[in-house]
């Protein structure tokens, strides 16, 4: 068997030369890999929101609705910012910050939930104090997909079209991610 294999290998090299490498390289440009062929099963979607997430495109709702998955909308209030306000201004100011953030969060969660429910999806809502990136990375482990805005966690600019927080989050995840 070893002899036969090495004979075939030698003969193959003599006949085909480097042609095969060129051909297979070209094929790889348009044939899907084994991994890409596996269609992921999406039963739950995590969708983090915050004050920077303004416009959610209709295409995202349509895409998510195709999965018929349970969706958790989560609004994370930055505990670090809350603490900074408390220490630098006053406890009252930090409470005012929390109250306004919660109102904004509830409003955003309700709007998005209503829209998702209109597509027939089951939606859950959560609002809490925490770390905007680390908590999303931790929670995403229990979900099949993440849908995240490019603006999440920071204002974006023309020169920096993706929030650094989003970049950090997607670098730590192994589940499929939709960045809108």
């Amino acid at each position: 068997m070893g002899l036969y294999s090495s004979f075939i290998g030698r003969k193959f090299k003599h006949i085909a030369g480097k042609k095969y490498e060129d051909i297979i390289k070209h094929y790889r440009e348009f044939l899907l890999t084994e991994e890409e062929r596996q269609i992921p099963e999406i039963r739950s979607i995590l969708m983090p929101l915050d004050r920077y997430v303004k416009n959610i495109p209709t295409e995202l709702y349509e895409t998510i609705s195709a999965y018929e998955a349970r969706t958790l909308l989560v609004y994370i209030l930055d505990s670090h910012v809350f603490e900074l306000v408390r220490q630098t201004l006053s406890p009252e100011a930090s409470e005012e910050f929390r109250r306004r953030e919660e109102i904004m969060g509830e409003e955003l969660l309700n709007n998005v939930a209503k829209k998702l429910e209109s597509y027939g999806l089951r939606v859950q809502r959560r609002i809490f104090f925490g770390n905007k990136s680390d908590d999303v990375i931790r929670m995403a482990g229990n979900y099949d997909m993440l849908a995240i805005s490019r603006n999440y966690g920071a204002e974006i600019t023309k020169t920096s079209p993706l929030s650094p927080l989003v970049l950090k989050i997607i670098q730590h995840l192994e589940i499929p991610v939709i960045v809108y």
């Binding site: 036969y4 294999s5 003969k11 003599h14 006949i15 030369g17």
Partner: protein
């Protein structure tokens, strides 16, 4: 035997042993043998142009230029994806369609390039179907060798035979095309019978395969749309010229060279890059072989062999049987190119007492289809098995032999039957 005869025979045997062993590159072996017979003056320098079959070498070179330029356009990958899509994830359709496409492409272009370009797609689709790729790969090999037999330009032995005997493209198509067509049907049927149990996929799986195939875009395979169109037109023009070359009194090599210059002129591709891709090793291999066999002709050894054979063979019918089966068995073990190179002058010499016209077809039949007998019988076999091995699919010598021998015996048997019906009865 004269000392020169002994020397020429020794060089011939030593070179062929080196070629069979593959210890050194076959081109190096042939060049070394060729230079030895020239050094010893067995073949005088002024006779070199007589023995170097320029028709064969230039025809091969012309077709290599056309194929290598066409390859840059992505035409072959386009054909592979289209074929896969037409097969619709049905194993039996994959088996039939890939066999037919391989045979068709091999009939006009060289077998090695054909299988090099189609095998990755075939492995991809068999993985997609999650079925044993063996029947598909075997049928691709068999189809390539069968398709190559159909035309004058399909396989190197045919090019050598056509050049030596002055046979036209249409004569090849008329004599070998029909045999190839029937043999292809026979081969697909045999492979289907042997592997029918594994050629099945469930309905759900089929839907998933169709979805994945639907995502493949054959247009993405086209690297250069303008070259893609020019390549198709050039190939069509060349094939049309082959159909009428005998009426126009043009040699096949001239048609190939015209096609090569047309595509180079029209595509504006860098000729240096294209000419670098010509398989010079193959052309020098042919050159060396022609000189070694020429030394046997020059010393009179071939003439004596022909005399001995004709004293034992009394009719064309017997000669067809002997040549076809001897060529098939020999080509199953050794490369059919050196074998044909040896047989061509032998059959020419037999023309003194026999009508050699049907014998050329018997040689083509045996030399082309004998390659299906074993894993090392033809270049296409080695290339497909080599690719499969690289992709983690083992095709053992016995795996191949079990099907190969059956296919070889049936297809050569059918071919011999047709030749007998045509030229003996």
């Amino acid at each position: 035997m004269t000392p020169l005869e002994v020397f020429a025979l020794a060089v011939f045997i030593f070179t062929y042993a080196l070629i069979i062993s593959e210890r050194i590159h076959r081109t190096v072996a042939a060049m070394a043998g060729g230079s030895l017979v020239l050094l010893a003056n067995v073949v005088p320098w002024e006779k070199v142009p007589v023995y170097l079959d320029l028709d064969t070498i230039l025809l091969l070179a012309g077709m290599m230029i056309i194929v290598n330029t066409t390859r840059l356009s992505g035409l072959f990958e386009y054909i592979a994806i289209k074929t896969a899509k037409f097969a619709k994830g049905e194993p039996i359709r994959v088996l039939i369609l890939f066999s037919v496409v391989t045979a068709l492409v091999s009939a006009f272009l060289d077998n090695v390039t054909t299988v090099l370009l189609l095998t990755p797609m075939l492995i991809y689709i068999s993985r997609l179907m999650e079925v044993n790729p063996l029947p598909f790969l075997l049928s691709e090999i068999f189809a390539s060798n069968i398709g190559g037999m159909a035309t004058l330009i399909g396989d190197p032995p045919n090019i050598m035979i056509g050049s030596a005997a002055g046979l036209s493209f249409n004569e090849f198509l008329f004599n070998m095309g029909l045999i190839a067509f029937l043999d292809l049907i026979l081969m697909i049927f045999v492979v289907y019978l042997a592997y029918r149990k594994v050629l099945k996929v469930s309905k759900e799986k089929k839907e998933r395969i169709l979805r994945t195939l639907g995502n493949l875009d054959e247009r993405a395979a086209i690297r250069d749309l303008a070259l893609f169109r020019k390549s198709i037109i050039t190939i069509v023009v060349v094939v049309l010229f082959f159909f009428v070359h005998d009426k126009l009194r043009i040699e096949p090599a001239v048609v190939a060279l015209f096609g090569a210059s047309l595509i180079l002129f029209w595509s504006r591709e860098n000729p240096e890059g294209i000419l670098e891709k010509i398989e010079w090793a193959t052309l020098f291999f042919f050159g060396g072989l022609f000189l070694i066999v020429g030394s046997l002709v020059e010393t009179g050894f071939i003439g004596q062999m022909a005399q001995w054979i004709t004293s034992h063979i009394h009719s064309e019918g017997e000669a067809i049987l002997v040549i076809a089966w001897l060529s098939a068995l020999a080509s199953a073990v050794i490369d059919n190119i050196p074998f044909t190179a040896t047989m061509v002058p032998l059959i020419k010499a037999m023309g003194m007492s026999l009508n050699t016209y049907p014998l050329w077809w018997a040689l083509s039949l045996g030399a082309c289809l004998g390659g299906n007998g074993t894993a090392i019988g033809a270049s296409a076999n080695v290339v497909v098995i080599g690719i499969a091995e690289r992709e983690g699919i083992k095709i053992t010598f016995m795996d191949f032999l079990k099907m190969g021998i059956i296919v070889m015996i049936l297809t050569v048997g059918a071919g011999v039957g047709i030749l007998w019906a045509r030229y003996v009865w």
